[in-house]
Symmetry: C2
Subunit: 233 residues, 2 copies
Amino acid sequence: MSNENIYNPHVSVDCVVFGFDGERLKVLLIERNITEQNELYNDKKLPGSIILQDENLDEAASRVLNELTGLKNIYLSQFRSFGGPDRTKNPRDILWLENTMQLKIGRIVTVAYVALIKIDRKIQVKYENTQANWYDLNEMASMNLAFDHAEIIKKGLDHIRHQLDVEPHLLFELLPKKFTISQLRILNDVVHQTRSDVRNFQKKVAQMSYLVMLDEVEDGVPHRAARLYKYKK
Amino acid sequence: MSNENIYNPHVSVDCVVFGFDGERLKVLLIERNITEQNELYNDKKLPGSIILQDENLDEAASRVLNELTGLKNIYLSQFRSFGGPDRTKNPRDILWLENTMQLKIGRIVTVAYVALIKIDRKIQVKYENTQANWYDLNEMASMNLAFDHAEIIKKGLDHIRHQLDVEPHLLFELLPKKFTISQLRILNDVVHQTRSDVRNFQKKVAQMSYLVMLDEVEDGVPHRAARLYKYKK
DNA sequence: TTTTATTATTGTTTAAAATACAATAAGATG
DNA sequence: CATCTTATTGTATTTTAAACAATAATAAAA
């Protein structure tokens, strides 16, 4: 079809965008509505799409994430590709793809990216009928996800856990600009699946020269307010 | 062309296979001979090729590596994809692809794999005109490599360095079945780009319950022979 | 104002791991 | 037997990680 000149329908990108709500890790998903035999069916998918012919993979990921969520200047990092011949075999997915893309779709190899962002960033959808929302990672099991997106999310989570071991500074991408040491500790524990000691954690933090204590405390808590810090590399 | 039914000419796999010769890390490359305007031109490429339509990525990597090197039962692990629209723009590469594949080739996204193997494994090429050899990683800079294979090798090396931090047991894939502690230490230093202390390393080794001391010593050295060990998980 | 409840903040002791450092033993060769 | 080369081994020190609880600050309730 004519779109083949613009799109490369054999390769796509998908973005696994993580956020942190103060207690748990969340992932950003797009609502998908499919009418199948006059029944409205609703499920979720990762922000992703096929690439353009004249576009490298990183550019494609940034573009697609922006088109579907309005997010800009997000540091996306490629972590894995998924390309089994069966990943585009679900009739519901095929139907949706052909409706959305106006293209005959065969096998698609997708290149997956992860990003860590502050959960309060504004999500602004550009197309009607599209909606993007944060979902709890613990609820993935009971959620209807398109294609092999459940597997992609799981692998993405594995990847950031490793990545945050290697580059601990990336943690601060998930926190608000001003945060308390408790927030940092809870996030750290969620990511590493540990329960760290409050005093020992404080000691570690004291050695982080890139952590700047502010002259402010948190607001709106019904008890003693904690001091705020910011990250400065 | 008719091969499109069998091959998926938009996606390929490439294998970065590492070996260790006792002193340095090596990578396995395929010789490539191209006749260009009656001039014979010689360079190297990674073992890799486009995938089949009905084949997942891991299977494709195993198949292609076997076809080009005779290696079987190699643990290949995917580490990154490369898909810039310019990666198949070199006329020499285009010519070679179309001659070899009998296909009109456009843009190809390649999914790259790494493997660690014992350098004494038999390499047996199945096609005439093809040859596979080990090359020193330190000589990459002065070597003619096809496509973006220089970059892929560099990223592959980065990847195994990280991977070996996380799973140190993978080191033993690179050593012969029986090895000395010196060999293990030198390999470890090459991989981590360190110079470890002989005594401290011995101490670490003593705690590795999966290292079995054999009742044998190395052979053919013009000085005191070192004891041999084997790895047993 | 006082009491109560809730979370914030802070040190010390002990155990484990990493580092620095060199003398002696074993075997090969002439 | 003397010499050369590499293998093998221990101790002291520093650094890092882990275990463990009392007091301070503030908000809310009495």
